[in-house]
């Protein structure tokens, strides 16, 4: 570029004399001169005028409808979410994005769960459990229909669950204890178990209990036929879903807003802009550090954090032969991490979590006292193994790029003084799945395990943590076989404490979703809204 410049400067200088002489000989220097720039100037002015005109016309139209409606309830509410589903096939495709948008809105389960993670009636209005915990009898609602007009009865319910087990659809492994599912009559379904399972009802609130139309034929990846208050009117993968109220809806959760549009905004800044500009009325989640313009304007926005089951798990490779097979190193890491600092740097809404069970799951106990922040203890544990800041242990932290780079950097600097040289390796999610989850090729991993009731991962030695503790496995089995909730919770809590003491992982925090809504939005749930998001109650009044 600079070479160019030199050449031109030169040409300008030498050209000046010839310029002058040639210009004086020109036939008609001024006649054609101003034309070209005048024309382009006019063109630019016209273009700008047209753009501004069109824009203003549209802006006016928008304002017109807004003021025309006055305080009326909007017929469309647009909601901004983050993780987008790639298809609608809830039977085969993992990911809570599908649960979030489809369960309770488009599809309904035999039972449902509320924002406190408790089981509530849905397709079944009531149920009984036999004393031995082996038989569950569900009494269904009457006069139920799917959105295509087909009736929904016990046949559909039994068929759906049996299909799930036979075809091994997603979550089928959670129903391993089921021996048979039968439609006793049109509105009674009986589920018989081989062994008692205290998690059964909760499991049925998720994908395992969803009811599909046994007679309908449609492409599950692009369409959805359910019995819920909404139907999918349009689905653009990775971008948006338009829900329309189901005119044939049978139940009492009737949609209050006729159209709900869900926009998936992967970029945090784009999401914030969308809420500011009014393109969306709700943002869930919003990155807490970006929520400031909304929290500082309570006359226009409501910002609130809700409880959830997201556990940011710093999982260690516990398998023998791993660098972290020595318990002292794992304990040292847990002592060295300053959880309060991590949480504060993220905005302060998240909750400290000392063990594998979050507060909304059965068996929760506050275990944060087991490994309080204590650098000296961490240093002496590391020294006992033979490492110090001058002679550090090299470890690699592998995690998916969706969680950002800050956490890795913070952990790196927190672990440095105790003698751990942490290499942070941020990879694509697919790569993480391959290297860490499937091949167990890692030292430390970081994932947001957002599923509820996923405590069983600690009882499976083949899971990527490689954690194998017979006592924990026994307690968990006893908890599952328990026939009362109280007994189950006690067993789980005991197992969770054992796990936490063993330090097979560190639980950085229980991520709490921050949701921001425009003032006037009612009925949007704040708790658990990344997995359970009933939309029928949502309204927006301008």
């Amino acid at each position: 570029m600079s070479q160019d410049n030199g050449a031109h400067a030169e040409s300008g200088a030498t050209g000046a004399t010839t310029d002058a002489s040639l210009a004086s000989r020109a036939k008609n220097p001024k006649k054609n001169g101003p034309k070209w720039w005048l024309i382009s100037l006019i063109a630019v002015i016209v273009a700008v005028a047209v753009v501004i005109g069109v824009t203003l016309a549209y802006a006016k139209k928008d304002n017109g409808t807004a003021s025309g409606n006055g305080a009326a309830q909007a017929s469309t509410v647009t909601i901004g979410l983050k993780l987008a589903p790639t298809n609608l096939d809830i039977r085969n495709t993992a990911g809570s994005a599908l649960d979030q948008i489809l369960i309770g809105n488009v599809y309904e389960g035999i039972v449902a769960r509320d924002s406190k993670n408790q089981v509530t009636p849905a397709i079944a209005s009531s149920w009984e459990e036999s004393k031995d915990g082996l038989t569950y009898t569900f009494h269904l609602n009457k006069n139920m229909v799917f959105s295509n007009g087909d009736t929904l009865d016990a046949e559909d319910v039994a068929w759906s669950i049996n299909e799930l087990i036979a075809k091994q659809y997603h979550d089928a492994d959670a129903l391993e204890a089921v021996s048979k599912v039968e439609a006793k009559d049109a509105d009674t379904v009986v589920i018989t178990l081989k062994t008692p399972n205290s998690n059964l009802l909760w499991t049925l609130t998720g994908r395992a209990g969803l009811v599909f139309d046994k007679d309908a034929k449609y492409d599950l990846k692009t369409q959805a036929v359910g019995s819920g208050p909404y139907t999918v009117a349009k689905f653009v993968e990775n971008d948006s879903i338009t829900l329309k109220a189901n005119e044939k809806y049978w139940g009492k959760n009737k949609a209050k807003t006729p159209t709900i549009v869900v926009k998936y905004l992967a970029d945090d800044n784009a999401a914030v802009n969308a809420l500011k500009s009014g393109d969306v009325q709700v943002l869930a989640p919003i990155t807490e550090n970006l929520a400031e313009p909304f929290t500082s304007d309570p006359s226009k926005y409501v910002v609130k954090a809700g409880d959830g089951t997201d556990k940011y798990v710093l999982g260690f490779n516990n398998a023998s032969g791993s660098k972290l097979a020595d318990k002292r190193i794992r304990q040292a890491i847990r002592y060295a991490i300053n959880h309060d600092e991590l949480i504060a740097s993220r905005g302060g809404a998240d909750k400290a979590l000392g063990g594998p069970i979050p507060s909304l799951d059965p068996g929760y106990e506050d275990l944060t006292d087991l490994y309080p922040y204590d650098q000296d203890k961490a240093k002496s544990l590391m020294a006992a193994v033979g490492y110090s800041e001058d002679k550090p242990l090299e470890l690699t932290l592998t995690y998916a790029n969706i969680y950002g780079t800050e956490l890795g950097d913070q952990l790196r600097s927190q672990l440095k003084p105790i003698g751990i040289d942490l290499k942070v390796n941020v990879v694509e999610f697919s790569t993480w799945l391959q290297d860490v989850y499937t091949n167990h090729d890692f030292d430390i991993s970081l994932v947001d395990h957002n599923e509820s009731h996923d405590f069983y991962t600690w009882t499976d030695p083949t899971y990527y943590f490689g954690y194998d503790n017979k006592d924990v496995q026994k307690l968990y089995a006893e908890g599952i076989a328990a026939t009362t909730d109280k007994e189950r919770d006690a067993k789980f809590a005991e197992a969770a404490k054992l796990i936490s003491e063993d330090a097979p992982a560190d639980w950085l925090f229980n991520y709490r979703i921050t949701t921001a809504t425009a003032k006037g939005v009612e009925g949007f749930p704040f708790d658990l809204n990344q997995t359970v998001l009933p939309l029928y109650n949502v309204t927006y009044t301008k």
Partner: protein
Amino acid sequence: MRFVVRRLLLFVAALFGLSVVVFAALRILPGDVASIMAGVNAPPEKAAQLREQLGLNRPLAIQYLDWMGALLHGDFGTSILTGRSVTSLVASRASITFPLIILGLLIALAVGLPLGCAAVLARSARVRAAFHVLAIIGGAVPALWSGLLLILLFGKGTGLVGILPSQGFPMDGWTTPGRALLALILPALSVGIIVGASLMRYTRAVLGDLANSGYIDMARSCGMTRTQAVLRVGLRLATPQLVSVIGLTFASMITGVMVIENLFALPGIGNGLVTDVGNRDLIAVQSELFLLAAFFLGVGLVVDVLHRILDPRLKSADTVSEVAA
């Protein structure tokens, strides 16, 4: 004629080579779509079962031949994850990306060509230097930053003069053309300004070289002013080169606008491609890449042919060599 045939044969050979490279390169990526579908709470058998169902266990050679066979029939396959045909996926994404690129390119031309000409024509060295700085700044600004700046200035709700939508594409797409066009203005501006700066530099360089050439002196000795000579003779001589640059810029913008698509939440081609690669939806990705590459090569071909038509010297050189042969 011979030239066109030769280029067409090359085009086909390049496509074939490309299909092999694309297929192989994607298979080297760690992870696969089955484990994505199974997620982190399913037992490993679930992923294995899906892999079997989706036919991902078959030998690679067979998978490649299947894909090629279908391609020859004009069937680009079905995305494993979305269940939609790749043709319809690409078509719906292209209905956003192509208008965005064309609009961006028009803005770039409207900015780049006049400024490039003005930079050559300016008499004072200071003005020329100012143009030079402008071109460098324009070329150095990342599209992401200029996009953010535009949102802060004009984005509805956020901007100082909040008049234009800055998020997403209307749900009804092009059935509401006014809204669709409005949604593309800010993204097209952010692309257009940057591409315009690079076009400006090209125009300035090409025209600047010509301005010192004998053609211009000749024109001026015939009585034109320097401005007239540069605009009438120089610009015409520069056309073949500029057309090449514009053609290739157009092709490279298809993926180049990805950052902008992401920033403005537009579900376009680049954006979709990144998502598909992330999900390891390889059947979709390989066909999408193949289509893109074919388009890129196609544009190259058209540009080459245009170049010949616009520059008669090349044609005569061709006939000379053909006669010699």
